[in-house]
């Protein structure tokens, strides 16, 4: 399938944005300035200002003289990129492949997308008219190559949709500036009398390269489609992604639920057909006012069950702010894994459905209170009691053997609490200790058991643990550290 690209050029990006924000400025000459060597230079202006002869790079003082009533604003550096980024996200409703084309353009890969609005003309017209409605002056071009689309968008006066294979005819009529060349090459071409691409398009490659360097050849042949040029999409497209465009924007909870359910159903069926299940998914909604939002979910096992995935999203539906209405939902399965074949589990006699039920339960809980609050412990190779268990959430992780040769308390205080204790003989258990103003007379004791830190954690840190029982039969785990301070660390059952 031949590729089709669209280049969008925002003619007056910054000034149009300013008017969009402050309607009172419409119809006035506007310009943006930026500081340069102690002067203020014009860096963006609108059509009204350009009628007075304003050019980029002019000083602000000169501009004010030639254009009476000119309104000047200071430009924040990088602002145009932020605006372009927003527009790129907005354009995701037309195509998933969008690339920024700084300073004031966007490139879209629209291969196979144009039928969404009928045909190519209607597709391009829809984009341009919607941007015009917002108050942005844009020029758009469509062609088989990025270079050609850029050229017609920036320089052509007619024929913005180049028919497939018509790049040569289209760019021949355009000036050399349409080829995205650097200014010194453009100057040289101008001096030599090449005022149009048709003047040098037929010249052999070697001649052009010798005269003007490699870039002119590259750009020319990229525009003609004989050299490859790639579009680096702003958002990496996800292989398992589904869209649900809505004709009439929706804003009620019922409508959103129906739409999301349909969307999940479509994706789940697709995953089911390929034997996959989703582990993580993102639901993006685009609103009519150009804003968007996202919901994320994660699952503990590959899931392809619509109801389960829907339930996970449903718990976060409060976060969706539809405002004036939502016009598009996008569901991306950001992480997929081969799903367990239930039928084979049935034969092997494992309780596959049981663990699936548990995993779905944990998904539900994680969606409400957060996955970080769910713990499952596996033995870890450490000596310090606080570190003896490692945390995991993977239900299928197999544990090595737990040690049970040494008694450990069932209730562990974290951090240990300081106690007052008295040991009559060093390295012997204390006779009594006071914890929270309560005196415990020790009747029986086991120990000491010395537990040392790993040397790379803390040099010569050790603790002497005693397992003690007071006269009322309550059992405690106390220790003295290297400095002979006593701590209560846990309660034995």
């Amino acid at each position: 399938m031949p590729k089709r690209f669209v280049s969008i050029w925002f003619r007056y990006l910054l000034t149009d944005w300013k008017v969009f924000r402050e309607h009172s400025l419409s119809g006035l000459p506007l310009a943006f300035t930026q500081p340069d060597h102690g002067r203020m230079l014009i860096c963006a202006s609108n059509s009204m200002a350009e009628q007075f002869g304003l050019r980029h790079g002019m000083t602000a003082a000169d501009a004010k003289v030639i254009a009476p009533g000119l309104r000047l604003f200071e430009e924040k550096s990088g602002h145009n990129l932020i605006l372009l980024q927003h527009f790129a996200e907005w354009f995701l409703r037309y195509t998933p492949l969008v690339m920024l084309d700084p300073p004031d353009g966007l490139l879209l890969d629209v291969t196979g997308c144009t039928h969404l609005k009928g045909d190519e003309t209607a597709y391009l017209l829809d984009m341009v008219s919607r941007l015009n409605d917002m108050g942005y002056t844009v020029r758009a071009g469509m062609a088989d190559t990025i270079g050609c689309a850029w050229a017609v968008a920036h320089c052509a006066t007619t024929g913005f949709i180049v028919p497939p294979g018509g790049q040569r005819i289209a760019i021949a009529a355009l000036p050399p500036v349409a080829l995205r060349l650097s200014s010194d090459i453009l100057l040289k071409l101008n001096q030599l009398g090449f005022y149009s691409v048709s003047d040098f398009i037929h010249m052999p490659k070697s001649v052009l390269r010798r005269r003007f360097g490699n870039s002119i050849v590259l750009r020319l042949y990229q525009a003609l489609g004989q050299e490859p040029e790639f579009l680096l999409p702003l958002i990496e497209p996800v292989p398992y992604s589904e869209r649900y465009p809505i004709l009439e924007p929706i804003r009620t909870r019922e409508a959103i639920e129906i739409a999301v359910h349909e969307l999940i159903d479509t994706l789940c069926k697709r995953l089911y057909a390929e034997g996959l299940g989703m582990r993580a998914a993102t639901l993006t909604y685009l609103r009519v006012d150009g804003k968007s939002g996202q919901l994320h979910i994660g699952t503990n096992h590959p899931s392809q069950r619509t109801d389960h995935v829907f339930k996970l999203f449903q718990q976060n539906f409060e976060q969706i702010a539809p405002a004036l209405g939502i016009e598009l939902f996008i569901l991306d399965a950001t992480k997929t894994e081969p799903a367990i074949d239930k039928q084979s589990l049935l034969w092997s006699g494992k309780s596959g459905t049981q663990s699936e039920m548990v995993a779905e339960l944990l998904d539900n809980i994680a969606a409400r209170i957060g996955a970080s609050n769910i713990h499952r412990y596996l033995p870890a190779e450490h000596y310090l009691p606080e570190k003896i268990a490692q945390n995991t959430i993977d239900l299928n992780a197999q544990a090595a053997d737990w040690r049970s040769d040494k008694p450990r308390p069932l209730q562990l205080l974290d951090p240990p609490e300081a106690i007052e204790a008295m040991a009559l003989t060093p390295d012997y258990p204390p006779k009594q200790f006071i914890h929270r103003k309560e005196r415990h007379i020790i009747a029986n004791a086991d120990g000491p058991e010395r537990i040392e830190c790993e040397w790379w954690e803390q040099p010569d840190g050790y603790r002497d643990y005693f397992n003690v029982e007071d006269e009322e039969g309550r059992r405690y785990w106390i220790y003295a550290n290297a400095d002979k301070y006593w701590f209560l660390h846990g309660y034995f059952p």
Binding site: I369, I374, L410, Q411, P493
Partner: protein
């Protein structure tokens, strides 16, 4: 006539307990919990599963003792595989210690909620899930309505639930089948031996529906419960 009256009353009792959602326990149906004399207290002489049990704790020492007793019970519930959910608000349980009570700590999923009221939500969700062997809920408050909700959930799923109430000031009435306290007791080794012996508890069954409350001295030894007859009981037996 007298016998028929008794029969009618028995039948009525059974019906009422069925209406209340309790499935009658059939002797020898479930696993044996090795609870010996304690099992005489329950209807059908089997430790009831698929119901709510309530444990009252007044301090960390008692919580630890209850943990030990619970772990001993869980050992049986988790025998055929399965997962246990431990929901709590301020958890201090130290997983590796459970191994001594016959459970692999990796079979328990701990859910530590940030807000206290979420504990009961998590418990209810977990009790709904039939694939779970048991649910332990550490909470401070549980009122009558909340316990009813949990009981209704259990009637559908037949999962065993344990409510561990730590430091509760008021202990209101609940629909739980049983109410227990477990106090640590002084251990006893053979005379003359120094050190701390096997964990020993005074387990008291304060309330039980259709059963007899009682109190037992139990020791945890060789991965099983061992019932110790007190001096008084011995005297009674040999008198």
């Amino acid at each position: 006539m007298q016998a028929t009256k008794q029969e009618i009353i028995d039948k009525l009792r059974q019906d009422i307990s069925a209406w209340e959602g309790f499935r009658p326990q059939v002797p020898g149906e479930g696993e044996s919990f090795g609870l010996g004399p304690m099992e005489q207290s329950f209807q059908g002489r089997v430790f009831p599963t698929g119901v709510l049990h309530e444990f009252i704790s007044t301090g960390p020492e008692e919580t630890a003792a209850i943990g030990g007793f619970l772990a001993g019970l869980m050992q049986v519930l988790l025998k055929d595989g399965g997962i246990c959910i431990w929901a709590s608000f301020s958890r201090r349980i130290y997983p590796p210690a459970l191994k001594r009570f016959g459970i692999n700590p990796d079979r328990i999923v701990f859910i530590d909620v940030q807000r206290e009221k979420d504990v009961l939500w998590v418990t209810e969700e977990a009790l709904k899930c039939k694939g779970i062997a048991a649910v332990i809920c550490e909470t401070r408050q549980l009122n009558f309505q909340e316990s009813q909700r949990l009981q209704l959930t259990i009637e559908q799923s037949q999962v065993t639930g344990f409510i561990l109430r730590k430091g509760a000031k008021l202990v209101p009435n609940t629909v739980c089948l049983t109410r227990w306290t477990v106090r640590p007791l002084k251990t006893q080794l053979r005379p003359g031996l120094p050190g701390v012996g096997h964990p020993r508890w005074q387990i008291e069954l304060i309330r039980v529906k259709n059963g007899r409350p009682g109190s037992w001295t139990v020791e945890w030894k060789n991965k099983g419960f061992k019932f110790i007859e007190t001096r008084k009981e011995l005297l009674q037996r040999y008198a």
